[in-house]
């Protein structure tokens, strides 16, 4: 008895192969379209903005005249913002991760905190802006200062840092923990001297990527009321400031054609900052991450 009708298989094989190749082409096309979109995006921005990039552009304040407009206040403002966001979010994020991985008991409270973190990651950034506006700007009367914006951004990227730090801590093998505890170290000594040093590359990589998200975020800053035309640099965390994405948003939304080129130049600066941060993250990951 024949289980397989050989003639039928042969007859159909050609068609099935054609369908296979056809769809392979389609799937490849889909991938290419996605990559092409990125290529066009980068190409457009570089060609539009490169002409405006100059030392003056980096060193001038915002201006009504496109040829005089510069990005100094925004660039320095973004650095100020990072000076608040980086310590705040990393301390909160790593602290939470240590608690969840090393101390938390498996109970409903812990499960609740975990679910809460993943839900928080899905809240739109503009809603974080509303939180910042109500709590930091108004209730704590921080105004539209570096501090208010920095706290808002810290909460926004907190879930990302927690998850990254959790993964890094989880990747430290239990043998190291047990050895340290077995030698008589206390739990906290083990965490500070054994686990954190081993997990730091992973934590840093995740944190830098999260910070680069905070640098590019615009919506929360608008809601908080961060101004755009600023002719001075902040001298402390309580000063008002502006940031790169705010400045780019302002230039992009102006009707004059000339300002679009200025906006593109601003985007190049922003993307250069992001690229630098991402390269540092990749470098740390490749260089220091130990595989156990």
């Amino acid at each position: 008895m024949r289980y397989v009708d050989h003639d039928l298989v042969v007859k159909r094989m050609g068609g099935r192969k054609i369908v296979n190749y056809l769809f392979k082409g389609l799937f490849m096309l889909a991938t290419t379209i996605a990559l092409l979109a990125l290529a066009i995006l980068l190409y457009r921005i570089v060609t539009q903005g490169a002409g405006n990039l100059s030392w003056e552009f980096l060193n001038n304040f915002a201006s009504r005249f496109p040829e005089k407009a510069g990005i100094k206040a925004a660039l320095i403002g973004s650095l100020w913002l990072m000076a608040v966001v980086a310590p705040t979010s990393i301390i909160l994020g790593v602290g939470s991760a240590i608690y969840l991985e090393e101390y938390a008991k498996k109970n409903r409270m812990t499960a609740f905190i975990r679910t809460n973190i993943s839900n928080l990651a899905g809240v739109p950034s503009v809603v974080f802006g509303l939180l910042g506006l109500t709590i930091f700007v108004r209730a704590l009367s921080l105004g539209n200062s570096v501090l208010a914006a920095g706290f808002t951004m810290s909460l926004l990227i907190l879930p990302v840092i927690i998850v990254a730090a959790q993964e890094a801590i989880r990747a430290v093998p239990n043998e190291l923990r047990d050895a340290s505890l077995g030698m008589g170290a206390t739990k906290w000594q083990t965490i500070v001297r054994i686990i954190l040093p081993a997990a730091i590359p992973g934590i840093l990589t995740g944190s830098i990527l999260a910070l680069s998200r905070a640098i590019g975020e615009t919506a929360p800053l608008i809601v908080i009321g961060v101004p755009v035309i600023i002719q001075f640099l902040p001298s402390g965390v309580m000063d008002t400031f502006t940031a790169l994405p705010m400045q780019i948003y302002d230039w992009s939304s102006r009707p004059q054609q000339e300002f679009q080129a200025v906006a593109a130049a601003g985007i190049i600066v922003l993307m250069a900052v992001l690229l630098t941060m991402n390269s540092i993250a990749a470098l740390i990951r490749n260089k220091f991450q130990k595989r156990y």
Binding site: V9, R16, V19, N20, F23, K24, F27, M28, A30, T31, I33, A34, A37, L38, L41, R44, I45, I91, L92, G95, S96, Y99, Y103, F112, I113, N116, S118, N119, L120, G122, P124, S125, V126, V127, F128, L130, L131, L133, T134, I135, L155, L158, G184, W188, R213, G216, E217, T218, A219, I222, I224, I248, Y249, S252, A263, A264, L270, M271, L274, N278
Partner: protein
Amino acid sequence: MRPSVQEMIAQSKGKKSKKIIEKIIPILLFLIASVSVLTTIGIVLTLIVETFTFFSRVSFIDFIAGTTWLPFSNKEAQYGILPLIVGTLKITLIAVIVAVPIGIGAAIYLSEYASETVRRIVKPVLEILAGVPTIVYGFFALTFVTPVLQGLFPEIKIFNAISPGIVVGIMIIPMIASLSEDAMSSVPRQIRDGALAMGSTKFEVATKVILPAALSGIVASVVLAVSRAIGETMIVSLAAGSTPRFDGDFTGSIQTMTSYIVQVSKGDAGYGTTIYYSIYAVGFTLFIFTMLMNILATYVSKRFKEEY
């Protein structure tokens, strides 16, 4: 004479400061971990309290069933949120039409067809696409996609729903592609090899074996991407315009929930005005939409997960 190890241990155990540290640290860390919970509570409370004030001035029924959104009218302001929801849905619809076929197509290619080398190059490049700030996408929509579309279809206005919709789609492609690829890659190799050994083509393996097995992960990735599209702010603020409308037109200026919040925040709606409180009511609606999507994604990926 040096103390013996036992003496050292005894000495160290006697230190009070160490004991105190061991007791305080867990409490301190717990407090830090509860910041994320406090954040959620803060968001929900903020939205509820301010929305409550809003509803003391505008009737709830008018808000959720009204088809006119005219907050800046001097005569009689109207707060019917449906036009903003329609605007958001228009953007989401176009984004999904763009992103789902491309994202899942790319995921199938990377997981089933591509060589290891191609995958190792393409995946990080797609992640770059995910890391591009939304303001950059907004600029791209306004200065490139819209003019190109206008060249093809002259009836499209400078502010429209199509261009930002497409660009939001491009923005969420990496999310769908990456999460779906993860889901497909986690289908065990034996199942794939089994199907191939029975004489299936790769396409048949992908559609008849891998897709059904990874469906929960794929659906979850799409739902999460939809949630991102609903909450996307800068692309629509720059390229979609600011005309709340309750119709099916995609070629003209629209307004979404997110871009309304930005429009009010940019202007000087004084603290305490009804317009000021309206951004919380809109923000709350937006929050509920995205929250439902996120819960749905978690549910789908847990409930329908195939275990191997």
